[in-house]
Symmetry: D2
């Protein structure tokens, strides 16, 4: 951390900064320039100290963080890329992980049909929400508790592990019995009560990036998941909110090489929510793979025109199968398989 004193700051003010740093067991080095004093605080655990601790002192102009504020999710903490299994599926390996299925589970028939198409196309996980956070209280919110046994039945029948969203910390334990990966939605990325519970969950967690979360905040949210021992975390880029409205969100593919550089966690991409329209999904899916994503989360519905939720961004089975064919050479072009 670098504390820049104001021009003309007094010796007493500089001392106060130095003493506070020492009180926190941090190393201090003074840089006395012609114009102003700059205090470098270079100890190993400065990442965990708030900049406010110094910024609030009299005579301080600015405080700049050098160490990243996240820790467990960082490359510095763990150098090798994280890999783990969901059933037989390897997450973070050379083979891309395709997670496909409907936004919301509507019926056993719908989910089973989606599972068959997903498997046929080469997907290795099935997605399907039973608790659906919706912007309006008057919309369809999913089958809720009724959906538990249905998820369980279809995953066994079709032999595909299931990813589903959890929205309440008190559901975690129960849902972990019926699903293989629990998903944290974008709107809950900073729902810390939920994250803390998931850190103790017996299954992997897919953490969607918040609509307006920076990469740094996203990795700090991952730190919550990692903090109590759950090491099986998958990051999912799904578009951020910007001024542009021709797509539902702006897919930030730059986050892929950034995450690779600073974190050991695997990252998948959801082109469907970013696009908001089925027409735009294939381009973004190919781009995500070319950018180096470890997998894709794709909305596909047996009958999008009659979907209860997000039909507009869902691929039909035919469109999905065509896209899977088109993705294969792209994956190979960047040294991956599907």
């Amino acid at each position: 951390m670098i504390v820049e004193m104001k021009t003309g700051a007094s010796q007493t003010q500089v001392d106060a900064v130095v003493n506070r740093a020492k009180g926190l067991d941090l190393e201090v080095q003074l840089n006395i320039g012609t114009d102003k004093v700059v205090v470098a605080i270079v100890g190993g655990h400065t990442g965990g100290v708030s900049t406010d601790v110094f910024a609030v002192l009299p005579g301080v102009e600015t405080v700049t963080r050098i160490m990243k504020p996240y820790k467990l999710a960082s490359r510095e903490f763990k150098q090798e890329k994280t890999q783990f299994n969901v059933g037989d599926v390897v997450i973070g390996g050379a083979r891309l992980v395709i997670i496909a299925g409907p936004c919301a589970v509507e019926s056993e028939e719908q989910l089973a049909e989606a599972a068959r198409v997903a498997r046929q196309g080469g997907a290795s996980l099935l997605r399907g929400g039973i608790f659906k956070p919706r912007t309006s209280p008057f919309s369809f919110h999913g089958l809720e508790e009724e959906g538990y046994s249905l998820l369980d039945k279809v995953r066994k029948q079709e032999g595909l592990p299931v990813v589903t969203e959890v929205t309440d910390p008190h559901q975690v334990e129960e849902m972990a019995k019926y699903a293989d990966v629990l998903q944290v939605g974008a709107r809950n990325m900073q729902n810390y009560a939920l994250l803390r519970e998931l850190s103790k969950a017996p299954c992997p967690v897919l953490l969607k990036r918040g609509l307006c979360a920076t990469v740094t905040e996203w990795l700090m949210a991952a730190d919550y998941l990692l903090a109590e021992g759950n090491e099986r975390v998958i990051l999912c880029e799904r578009g951020i909110r910007t001024f542009e409205t021709s797509t539902r969100f702006t897919l930030d593919l730059g986050a892929i090489p950034v995450i690779r550089k600073v974190s050991h966690l695997p990252i998948v991409v959801d082109p469907s929510h970013a696009a908001g329209h089925f027409d735009l999904v294939p381009s973004l899916a190919k781009a995500a793979v070319a950018a180096g994503a470890d997998g894709l989360l794709i909305e596909m519905h047996p009958d999008p025109q009659n979907a209860l939720c997000d039909g507009l961004q869902s691929l039909t089975p035919n469109d999905f199968l065509r896209l899977m064919d088109e993705l294969k050479p792209v994956a190979e072009a960047v040294g991956r398989t599907i």
Copy 2:
């Protein structure tokens, strides 16, 4: 809702749109131009129908919503401005409601001292968090359950109703015993499990605007609170995330006249979180009052330099008292009192 068909859309495609609308019990009027057909769907409950229902049909170019997608929070639903009491304090009346206090409750002494200063300055509610959502899992998270009795004791001793943040749906019932207003933080604005529980709470709710929530989404979140009968909702503008970093967030004071126009709910402003630095708070506080806010939420701490949380944006008691003096003529200039 206005459905614009593609140039050259077939009669069958137009019919499919019309039939779907009729199936949803909506009125349809056809506008047949030289270039394209436009279907106007003008029934009273179109606000509750997703645009996707039509956008997903073949031959449809765009679907544009005319009715607002929120309902219970709208001026159309309730014309007169909402007013209610918290103890003796009127929310939404001519007298501005000042809610002051520390970000986090640290001790009985700290909270009691804050309460005394708040009251001295003319505040009518005391704020203080015992559950603090923090971006890092390694930061101070508040006194948590231990804080309940402390809140209760100080509010009785000092005679100020208390506003505190709730983060878990399963805490709502218990917290409502010790606090007078429950606050939903910006990061939880779309935590629907929490909102649904609060809709049944026996106390008013202060709903902070999400970091990247539009006014429309904010009012849809308010609809969740209103949906099961809780009519005592206070909106709180606290800055949105933009590209600008010289303030912590960008305070959107335009939201005040917009909310007045479209909603009946009272709106207060939190200049402290938007500013991120105590230096900038007074300007924004005065601006909020001049823009027509119903009140302010101001962070004030007996000793900001040693605050465990957000000290940098907290006013000292002296700065707070000076600001309260300066706010009075501004309030009067726009026909309000403090």
Copy 3:
């Protein structure tokens, strides 16, 4: 255009809307619902009429545009994709157009060396700025007029057409003698004095997207270029400004399929400015090709460590040649060549 009247708008107010539309030679269709009147204005040239013309009338609640506000750049105006030549190079064809070179021209030696590496890697155009808009007045601003002959010399010597930025409307005529494509920088996308002059230029124009321009505004800027007859326009996506700071800008690859859908113009992508760091360029370059871009604009410098401008985002010759090798299979995977 759809004009929604306020609930309870008078007949006189509705008539005023209708009369104004008729006065502009537009067709009007009335939709009288139970709650409110909606006026559909469906004539062919409504795209050119401002919504304000109606929004400003008493009794009007909202006005929603149906027709796109851009015209000449739209697919409706011209259905087939635009293709044209720059020398022997086809823009908008199956072969991707790679435009490579330094941000700023520093010397003949530097530019010639860049040209040789560019050609060796398979690039078909050379980039190099002689007028460099810089955020600080104290930075290097390019060789300015002195650079003209240098550009001309190197393009002839190395046999590569040259792309260079123009910043002043009064330079257009002169610069067109020494360069093959004139570039409008992001900060000048809405410099209409410049666009109007370029609309009369005898050479193609590469139009960078403004830092905070929507796709719609970008195509309206293209309309300026097309308005007086210059049909050779290349769009260039180069990242938009968002709250995220881990990359210099957020590359919006969703713009590629959107542009394909609504416009006939070719679109290339500049991953260098979006990334801001050479490390991140290859991922984004591959993603852009996979998403369907017609080409790339890549910063490459013989010696980035000593570049006078934007060295951090420039590839070294070696990194550039490696990237070109890696791009080939990606291009083939989506049916293109390099």
Copy 4:
């Protein structure tokens, strides 16, 4: 500037940073921590050095700027607040400067009527554009050169100095004869060819903030104006682009106290462009005054319903006069007059 080396950076890499700094005549201080080396570069002119100069060197992790990158516009360069006259009007004094008038000049009658109303309400400058940058090439672009003599006539007749927008560097000299203040529009804030010309202009310049310009970039643009001797610069906040669409732009009033802190230049606010609708203008105008603005730029039109440009955000004469009455007590409440 603070250069953070990568963990494990070699001595040679550290030396390269140190030598480059010394080569630029900067002071260097090494901070050798347990984990990494941090190089502090503390010389007085580091604000003018690009961070890329160091970031591009091998072994460097991050480079953080401490000195502000703007200079002439900073408080450090000039401590006392800038004040100057436009005719008899003091800019930056205790009396607020109200600049009112139509967006575009349409006729002598319209402008003269606007001037009379402006003066009656207490405005001290008249605004009116004759070159109007418009997003569509098919919109009304102003009277252009024909407007020169009209501006001149009305300002003499009505005795109000005139503010008008300049869009082409080659118009500056001519326009300065007919107008008292030249305005740089938001879309031209980084049109450096224009700024450089205006730096030599014989009259004050009003510099609107770019739609997506940070405060820092805005002050760097001001540096362009100040660089060649024009010291009479007025900053104008007019709203920034964000995801929110209920107002045309998001007015960033936090910029007022920020500018006060870091710059000596006067700042006025344009609530009309930010609001986009006349209904929302009064709230924002009052808020701007309460926040400490030095003045307002208000669009007012004798007949907004028939305005050729931006009628929707223009006040009628009556609404303008009422607002001016309402602003007076707000100004007094913050120690200013109108």
